[in-house]
């Protein structure tokens, strides 16, 4: 059942892949703008790299939420799946699909962005790239999880556009802070285990709560 839900999400996404590509494209573009906009010097870039990459990840997740949830609500397939599969399961499948389509690609392209932003400047044999990937790997699912709750609430409110962002952004801040500081710590040769542990803990909390809360909200939205 979960498999069917997930497969449908992926299939729909493949059909209108603009929706999927745009966030990713956006992510890369935002990041690659900074060398133009701010400064092309390696040390400066390196300094702002973690923050920029993380903010871009956050915005990309946010940007894709609307697209990802709205259409099911409008064409009535949301209520059908809720009936057949139950709210928590529907929410979980959506969240997982959303992460596979926006979070995972980000994790995958992040080494490229690291190079673009000179993340290894002045280091030999550094593992900054791995740290960046790991932090994104732990952080982006949390973004999707929290985003699902916000989006489901916004759907229930039958409201368009930016309400989701307003609901969700304050909740994103801790993830952003810890995600960034993981990478920054690595760049400064400090230990980053603590930050990673916190990211993991946040992920766990969200993992326990979000599918349930999002499911409830989805149920409210179709009633």
């Amino acid at each position: 059942m979960f498999g069917a839900l997930l497969k449908k999400e992926l299939m729909v996404a493949r059909r209108n892949w603009i929706g999927i590509v745009i966030p990713l494209f956006f992510f890369v573009m935002v990041v690659s703008l900074f060398p133009f906009g701010v400064s092309p010097e390696a040390p400066t870039l390196q300094k702002i790299a973690p923050g920029i990459i993380w903010v871009a990840a956050l915005l990309a997740t946010l940007l894709s939420l609307e697209q990802f949830y709205r259409s099911d609500y409008q064409d009535g397939s949301l209520e059908q799946t809720l009936l057949i599969a139950g709210p928590t399961q529907v929410a979980s499948a959506k969240i997982l699909a959303h992460w596979l389509l926006t979070g995972l690609p980000l994790v995958i392209v992040s080494p490229l962005l690291g190079i673009l932003m000179q993340i290894n400047h002045g280091f030999v044999d550094s593992n900054h790239t791995w740290v960046l990937m790991l932090s994104l790997l732990l952080g982006t699912p949390t973004l999707c999880l929290i985003g699902a709750v916000g989006m489901s609430l916004a759907l229930a409110a039958n409201r368009n556009g930016m309400l989701v962002a307003v609901l969700v952004l304050p909740l994103y801040v801790p993830i952003l802070i810890f995600g960034t500081s993981t990478v920054t710590a690595s760049l400064e040769n400090f230990s980053y285990n603590g930050q990673l542990a916190i990211l993991a803990a946040l992920l766990l909390i969200a993992l326990v709560m979000s599918p349930f809360a999002a499911g409830r909200a989805l149920k409210i939205s179709v009633s």
Binding site: M1, G3, A4, L5, K7, K8, M11, V12, R15, N16, S71, D72, Q74, D75, G76, S77, E79, Q80, T81, L82, L83, I84, A85, G86, V222, S223
Partner: protein, 208 residues
């Protein structure tokens, strides 16, 4: 144990602060076809959504086979097909993809032959690879009806299933419903037109 059907008692339903139905009682026994009628805005859809567990009634009980539908959650919903005004198909997917999604949700592993059968009954087999958005209104409706053939169920709640269909398809649907009831199914449907082809066992009107 035989199925005891759907029983609603003392149902009060309201929308946006205004009470639609008060103290409604109804019984949908197995092997009966129930026709729900009422003018536009009477509350047919709201009642059906309530019976499907989508809308929360203000008060009252709804039992399926003797147990409250809120308590036995998934079991009732496995038995139910609810066709709403919205057709619940993804515009981007093909007919085949849409139908096999619902079939898989019901746990059918390999739905191909079932889908072939359903679509050819409705004369849309050659359109299986067409995207849902690229069908005519009636063809889209037919796709939704295929679900009745494909998915196993014990109760059908159908909100205006005859809309947009041409005469031949209406005949076909009436026969399908009759058949389902004969095999012990529970059927509740609405329509603003009389469906002469259908032998109706119970009529429920929403009236003042």
């Amino acid at each position: 144990m035989t199925n005891k059907g759907l029983l609603a008692s003392d149902l009060t339903i309201s929308r946006a602060e205004h009470v639609l139905l008060e103290g409604a009682e109804l019984e949908l026994a197995p092997s009966t076809i129930t026709y729900l009628y009422g003018e536009n805005g009477a509350g047919k859809t709201s009642l059906m959504r309530c019976l499907s567990g989508l809308l929360q009634a203000d008060s009252g009980k709804i039992n399926w086979n003797g147990q409250s539908i809120t308590s036995l959650d998934s079991e009732y919903f496995q038995d139910l097909i609810f066709l709403a005004h919205a057709l619940s198909m993804k515009a981007e997917l093909t007919i085949f993809e849409n139908l096999s999604f619902y079939a898989r949700l019901r746990g059918i592993k390999d739905p191909k032959s079932l889908i072939d059968d359903a679509t050819s009954q409705l004369g849309i087999a050659q359109l299986q690879k067409r995207r849902f958005a690229e069908l005519s209104a009636g063809q889209q409706h037919k796709v939704a009806l295929c679900r009745l053939v494909i998915e196993p169920a014990k109760i059908w709640i159908l909100d205006e299933p005859f809309v947009n269909l041409d005469k031949a398809t209406r005949h076909w649907l009436a026969a399908l419903i009759q058949d389902f009831a004969k095999q012990g199914g529970v059927v509740l449907f609405t329509s603003h037109h009389e469906i002469e082809e259908l032998a109706i066992d119970q009529r429920i009107g929403i009236e003042h």
